[in-house]
């Protein structure tokens, strides 16, 4: 009894503790997310980008949070009010105004971002993930199984020989004439066995090869510009949707047009980060790659103001993720409605310099995910029409921990993807 009491108390207090920690953390978390969505395209903490580095900005503004919030909402108003620092910084940045966030962010949200900036400290190197450990476990098992099988097979073979010799001996003692021994390469049973084995292994390989036809997992083509997702999405933490905004609006996630690249690269003309290496380990000159972009854009660094986005030429990127024509896939459905993270299908893009295909994009892979993934059954009003399931979830007929999977609402039917 007492023990149960104690465990209960411990459990409860841990939960309370954890929830306290998490609730405390939540605003900073929001701040980070908001920063990545709205600010990271132009600002970095420790370095000037399109806009100034933000570390210590609050001190520079004389710890006047109110003014800073007003600046974020609409910088023009603060400049017009004649604020000294505001005008200084405006002049320093070639009178390039900051995007007004009045309509996009609430005061509380701006404050959350500012809190995040205030608390931000240069991070140490990220900890490597340890998913290798998970992977090795099944590998070991197969190894053991293999060894055991081999040993058993060897034992069986030895026993067979023993049996044959014993029979030979007994025949000799009984005086039965042994047939002239046939060499084993002419022995029909051996030939049959070998042919059978070859047929099975050959068949297996052909089938496996055929299934893999047209699948391009780990496809990593050379692109016209060495564009590093690691630098953009990883180091500089630009939100995926800043460039691939289509994922939120339509079928295609789409590659950004040149004018989107130029939003930042009008002012970022040099690469000064860590040395980049391509897939073959060769050094890549980041600045030269930015110059390539400027050439496509028809942008002259020395005459930045004269640039006209309509002069840009299209960049012919190599498409990595190719689905067959008879498959209908909609990013919008997965990203906005299904709330699936980009990384689920595309892998840890912020760590890849050149992007490679992370998943095999096979039908089995799609279907598996549809079998396992839960839909936003209670949160999305659309699913309110599934009255039967709602009832069964309530009365326990359906396992509520498993939830309603995509499959349950027909997500593995042919005409959900093929039409």
């Amino acid at each position: 009894m007492i023990i149960r009491q104690i465990t209960k108390t411990i459990l409860l207090s841990t939960i309370i503790l954890f929830s306290a920690i998490y609730s405390n953390k939540s605003s900073a978390q929001d701040g980070k997310a908001l920063f990545n969505t709205y600010c990271a395209a132009c600002h970095k903490m420790d370095k000037d980008l399109t806009g100034p580095a933000l570390m210590g900005s609050e001190e520079r503004w004389g710890n006047d949070r109110k003014k800073l919030v007003a600046w974020v909402k609409n910088s023009a108003n603060v400049i017009a009010s004649g604020d000294k620092y505001a005008n200084e910084i405006f002049a320093k940045w070639n009178k390039l105004p900051m995007t007004p966030f009045e309509s996009m962010l609430k005061d509380a949200e701006i404050n959350a971002v500012l809190d995040y900036i205030k608390d931000w400290k240069p991070a140490s190197a990220p900890v490597a993930t340890t998913d290798n450990a998970v992977k090795t476990a099944p590998d070991k098992n197969t190894l053991y199984l293999g060894i055991i099988t081999l040993a058993l097979a060897l034992a069986a073979l030895i026993l067979l020989f023993v049996k044959r010799n014993l029979k030979k001996l007994s025949n000799e003692t009984l005086g039965i004439q042994a047939a002239t021994p046939i060499p084993f390469w002419k022995n029909k049973s051996y030939i049959t066995l070998v042919v059978l084995l070859l047929f099975i292994s050959g068949g297996y390989m052909v089938t496996k090869g055929a299934i893999d036809l047209g699948r391009n997992k780990d496809y990593q083509p050379v692109q016209p510009i060495f564009y590093s997702h690691k630098v953009h999405a990883g180091v500089n933490q630009i939100s995926c949707l800043y460039c691939h905004g289509g994922a939120e609006k339509g079928k295609h996630a789409n590659i950004p047009s040149v004018n989107v690249c130029m939003n930042c690269h009008k002012s970022i003309t040099e690469y000064s980060g860590e040395q980049l290496y391509d897939g073959n380990g060769k050094k890549v000159d980041g600045t030269a790659e930015i110059k390539k972009l400027h050439k496509y854009a028809g942008f002259d660094v020395n005459n930045a103001n004269a640039w006209n986005p309509n002069d840009a030429k299209q960049i012919e990127w190599v498409k990595i993720h190719n689905l067959p024509d008879h498959v209908y896939f909609n990013h919008n459905q997965h990203v906005e409605v299904g709330k699936v993270q980009c990384q689920t299908c595309h892998g840890d893009i912020p760590k890849m310099d050149e992007v490679k295909q992370f998943s095999d994009l096979s039908m089995g892979w799609c279907v598996n995910c549809h079998r396992e993934t839960k839909v936003q059954f209670k949160d999305n009003g659309f699913y309110s029409i599934y009255e039967k399931y709602h009832k069964e979830l309530k009365n326990g007929k359906l396992d509520s921990t498993k939830g309603i999977t995509v499959e349950k609402i027909g997500g593995t039917e042919c005409q959900k993807c093929h039409y």
Binding site: S257, A312, W317, D325, S384, Y389, I409, C414, H418
Partner: protein, 1027 residues
């Protein structure tokens, strides 16, 4: 006695050939000679081994190929409003020769791919026609002119402008010749141009004009205009030859109104009565409650007789007893519904139309069913004006002729005189977008934009403005014709500027222009009907001038709903759409009655052998038609509902081959024959009713691609009563539940209607936990126009197969409109039934598929997975509705082996050109050879609609509170809202309400227990029960 329905004469007589053909889904035998046995067949062992070796080698080569590198090329500078993969809809207006329909163009990644009706338009309410639906394909027509030319040589706009301005300055009298224009800004530009060049004038010429009505109204009402007919307010409608549901003035508007009077509900079982008099079977006549046949030359006599019958003065001059009875009945019906009655007449004779005006006046239609508050601008041409122009040209009084949209060299009857006249005109300029017959005669050609590339406005009816905005950058070096006129009249504005300035004074309020463009329509008229003073002065002389009926065989030239006056002749979708009446594709032909078939063609339809040889064999007997020394030859089709002494031929065929690849057959000869030269110019109007016709049977034969006998299904009972249900208004009034009771009786052994689903089968029914899709088609509202068929083609990338393939029963339409006859074989009642995949919940196709390529979804869809399909066609064989289509050849050019297309004709190759393929819907797979396809309930739209609801986090809406997340293509296109689609599980959806409220509901072939998700509402005919 059970009523008999029949689609073909063989079925009527239950002939041997019919019985045989209805047993097989696929009409062709396998390519083995049965007598010789399989081993000696055309494909011997060696060939088999060759093919085996080749395919293995091909597969090995294909497998070892590297995966091709695909490029992803984003915009250089992405426009804000374009999201790749998301369609934008722009309101614009379909305009063609006076036809004006407000539409939305669906633009996907910069190219318009589908036309939808604009639901904000009070005229059409979102309805469209087959021609409107098909117009998007004309945009991508490879035969469009690609640059301006001078004497056939490519030129630039500046060079042409300079040359034209120089020549026009001293050309003499200039004539601007056009078909009806109802764009107010354009008319102003024309006036400006005419003012700049004194002595010039504007002549409006319509190929099929309404001169008779215009001039009669001028005489009777002092207005040269066409009033708004209000078929929705009419309880009694009498039409004498006016095909108002298909081709007469404003058919979409009228069809919508007409359906309002025909839609009947259990609470108030009343409907309009429509009596139709006609000579050649038409769509409107086939929809009528009672149809009477007459000679074309009798029209005047009938109209006068009706007038006197209405006055109670008796009927004179009608010899035919049945016809006389019809007129008496019409007069009685009209008199009973005074103030709610309407009489329309398709004749182009002014005198006849004056008498019709008198009839309507007598019925107090003026101000009720005939509304003068807003007049119709669809047809303004006066035939005599053009005839005068021809005279002037011949007299050398015309110095320059500017032609827009009119094509008299093709459509004018007296072609020789016109040609000599044209030769005397020094300067000829055409704005033709294609090298049509008239444009070919012009030195200067400045091609006009397609309407989807244009700016503009249109006034379909006075006060009803509709706007045109471009949906794509012009594909070729074309220009607004208005730009040319503005330039030539010295105005420096381009047309867009001019249009904005024109409307800036007329539209009030901020953003008015933007709103007008966004909505597409601006309405500036009151909805109150007004009358106009009637003047009977001309009546007496009109009656005196009406010609007496003629004798002998007569010919009536008519318009097909798809081809019109020739506008649809180069459009393969329209050519391949089976005509609702004749069910023929790709040709024009001589329409004869069963009686004339006996005397002229020597085919007695009541004789099984003769009717079979006529019907089973696609080759039809060719008849020589001689009028006034002109002679043509055409195959003859026997169509009941045609007057025994009258024959009909459709206009719009026999086009010049420069109109495109699809107007000629495989031998490069024009499809069909141009019969405009038969038209007569008498009494100052063009008449398409021709007498003194000589017919002579030749010994030639010519194949006509009829789809009527395709897709037969022979039930074990050999009856058609299970497929369609029909009853008379009296039967229905007596007991509105008659259909339900009939069904219940039939299903009694299986649990009755209530328990049929569960007890009709040993299998348990499956759950549909979320959505269950369902469709309802009201046979009372459906008039068979075919808009849905073309909408389905455009939405679902349905291939065009061409005439040779249709002849082989290889037509691919997912949706067809079956035509059923019943009653008198010479003048039968007609029922049109749209037939599409019924998405059976207990589908017989699904359990015979060996590879599970077709199966059922939890939303009630019968799914078809093309990539799984191996082409056994078991499913098609097992489908009781015959709605599955097999890709016999590579119609879409999607195979890597070009030889798969060898045998296909021009039309297929035309559809596979890169330019034409721009019309394909990227959300729908283009099917390859060897797979079955069928209606998917527009699953791409369903998914899209669901996504929309999910994004907003609310339940799907299919008509709840008038809001729609999705409409399927056929439903959207339907001008009469006969098709309703939605979520049956939602009790608030329109489909649920329709099913709850209608006792006329029935399922086709219900007793089979296939549990269809498509229901029909039985046809109610406002007529006496048949004896």
């Amino acid at each position: 006695m059970e009523k008999k329905y029949w689609q073909s004469f063989g079925e009527l007589n239950n002939s041997e050939a019919y019985q045989k053909s209805s047993k097989n889904e696929f009409k062709e035998d396998l390519p083995f000679d049965a007598e010789k046995g399989l081993l000696e067949a055309k494909t011997p062992r060696r060939d088999f081994l060759k093919y085996l070796g080749f395919t293995t080698a091909a597969a090995a080569v294909a497998a070892s190929c590297e995966v091709p590198v695909k490029k992803a090329i984003p915009f250089a500078n992405q426009p804000e409003e374009i999201v790749p993969g998301v369609a934008n809809y722009y309101a614009t207006t379909y305009v063609q020769d006076g036809d004006t329909i407000s539409v939305l163009a669906k633009v996907r990644d910069g190219r318009p791919i589908k036309i939808e009706g604009n639901e904000l338009s009070p005229i059409t309410g979102g309805g469209t026609s087959a021609r409107v639906q098909a117009s998007v394909l004309d945009l991508y027509d490879g035969a469009r002119l690609r640059f301006p030319t001078i004497d056939g040589k490519e030129s630039g706009f500046d060079a042409v402008d300079k040359a034209v301005i120089d020549t026009l300055a001293n050309a003499g009298n200039i004539v601007f010749l056009s078909s009806t224009i109802n764009s107010p800004s354009s008319l102003e530009i024309i006036q400006k141009f005419l003012a700049k060049y004194p002595g010039s004038k504007h002549v409006t010429y319509d190929a099929v004009s309404n001169t008779g009505i215009l001039l009669a109204n001028e005489a009777s009402y002092g207005k040269r205009a066409i009033p708004s007919y209000r078929f929705d307010k009419a309880k009694a409608i009498v039409s004498i030859g006016a095909d108002f549901l298909a081709t007469w003035i404003s058919p979409i508007e009228y069809a919508r109104q007409y359906a309002k009077g025909k839609k009947i509900n259990d609470a108030n079982p009343e409907m309009s009565k429509h009596i139709h008099f006609e000579s050649v079977a038409s769509l409107t006549g086939s929809n009528a409650d009672d149809r009477y046949l007459h000679r074309p030359s009798e029209t005047g006599t009938i109209v006068v007789a009706l007038l006197s019958a209405l006055k109670g003065e008796g009927i004179n001059g009608i010899a035919d007893a049945k016809l006389k009875e019809g007129i008496e009945k019409a007069a009685k019906t009209l008199n009973e519904k005074k103030g709610e009655a309407l009489v329309v007449c398709g004749s182009n004779d002014v005198n006849i139309q004056i008498v019709v005006n008198a009839i309507n006046e007598l019925l107090s239609a003026n101000g009720t069913t005939i509304d003068w508050s807003s007049t119709n601008n669809a047809r303004k041409g006066i035939d005599a004006d053009f005839a005068q122009l021809v005279e002037d040209m011949n007299a050398g009084n015309v110095g320059a002729l500017i032609v827009l949209d009119a094509n008299p060299v093709y459509t004018w009857g007296n072609i020789d005189k016109l040609k000599t006249g044209l030769d005397k005109v020094k300067v000829k300029i055409s704005f033709g977008s294609k090298a049509d017959e008239t444009t070919q005669k012009c030195q200067y050609v400045i091609p006009n934009h397609h309407f989807l590339e244009s700016w503009g406005d249109a006034e379909a009816k006075t006060g009803h403005y509709s706007f045109i905005q471009p949906t794509i950058y012009p594909l070729f070096k074309t220009r607004h014709w208005q730009d040319s006129l503005l330039k030539w009249s010295g105005d420096n504005n381009d047309y867009l500027n001019y249009l904005k300035i024109y409307w800036s004074t007329k539209l009030t309020g901020a953003n008015a222009w933007d709103k007008a463009l966004q909505d597409g329509v601006v309405i500036n008229t009151s909805s109150i009907s007004t009358t106009t003073a009637y003047n009977a002065a001309s009546l007496t002389s009109a009656i005196a001038n009406i010609q007496p009926p003629k004798t002998g065989i007569e010919l009536q030239l008519y318009q097909k709903i798809a081809i019109g006056a020739g506008q649809g002749s180069a459009n393969p979708w329209l050519q391949e759409m089976p005509d609702p009446i004749t069910r023929a594709t790709w040709d024009n032909y001589l329409v004869v009655s069963p009686a004339m078939a006996k005397s002229l063609l020597k085919i007695d339809l009541s004789n099984n052998g003769q009717s079979d040889s006529y019907e089973v064999n696609p080759s039809k007997k060719v008849v020589e038609i001689k009028v006034n020394g002109k002679s043509i030859e055409l195959p003859a089709l026997i169509i009941p509902g045609t007057h025994p002494e009258t024959v009909g031929i459709a206009i719009g065929y026999g086009r010049d081959k420069k109109m495109g690849k699809t107007v000629v057959d495989v031998h490069d000869k024009p499809i069909g024959v141009n019969v405009y030269p038969f038209a007569e110019f008498i009494n100052n109007t063009v008449s398409f009713d021709i007498s003194n016709v000589e017919l002579k049977l030749t010994d030639k034969k010519y194949p006509v691609a009829l789809t009527q006998t395709h897709n037969l299904y022979n039930t074990s009972q050999g009856k058609r009563t299970e497929v369609v249900k029909e009853l008379t208004l009296d039967e229905y009034k007596e007991n509105t539940k008659v259909i339900i009771e009939e069904r219940d009786k039939e299903l009694k052994p299986f649990g009755g209607i209530a328990k049929f689903k569960e007890e009709g089968s040993i299998y348990k029914p499956f759950d549909k936990p979320g959505i269950k899709w369902g469709m309802s088609i009201d046979l009372n509202a459906c008039n068979g126009c075919g808009a849905c068929v073309i909408a389905c083609n455009a939405e679902n990338n349905i291939p065009v197969v061409g005439k040779p393939e249709v002849l082989r029963f290889h037509d691919m339409h997912w949706m067809r409109i079956d035509r059923y006859y019943s009653g008198d074989a010479n003048n039968p009642n007609v029922v049109f039934q749209p037939m599409l995949c019924q998405h059976c919940d207990n589908a017989p196709c699904e359990n015979v598929c060996p590879v599970a390529a077709t199966n059922h979804s939890s939303e009630g869809l019968n799914q078809m997975t093309y990539n799984r399909c191996i082409g056994t066609r078991y499913c098609a064989n097992n489908c009781p509705y015959k709605v599955r289509r097999f890709n016999w050849a590579d119609y879409t050019g999607s195979d890597s082996f070009p030889n798969n297309q060898d045998e296909l004709n021009n039309a297929v190759h035309y559809m596979n050109e890169d330019l034409t393929r721009m019309v394909l819907n990227p959300d729908v797979t283009v099917r390859s050879r060897g797979v079955i396809e069928k209606c998917s309930f527009c699953v791409q739209r369903l998914q899209d609609g669901k996504l929309k609801a999910k994004k907003e986090g609310r339940p799907l809406k299919t008509g709840k509170d008038g809001e729609w997340d999705l409409k399927v293509a056929c439903q959207q296109a339907c001008p009469t809202e006969a098709i309703v689609f939605g979520n049956v599980n939602d009790s608030e959806s329109v489909i649920s309400k329709v099913r709850q409220d209608n006792n006329r509901l029935f399922y086709s072939l219900e007793f089979l227990h296939v549990l269809p998700n498509v229901n029909y509402l039985a046809k109610v005919r406002n007529t006496e029960a048949e004896a």
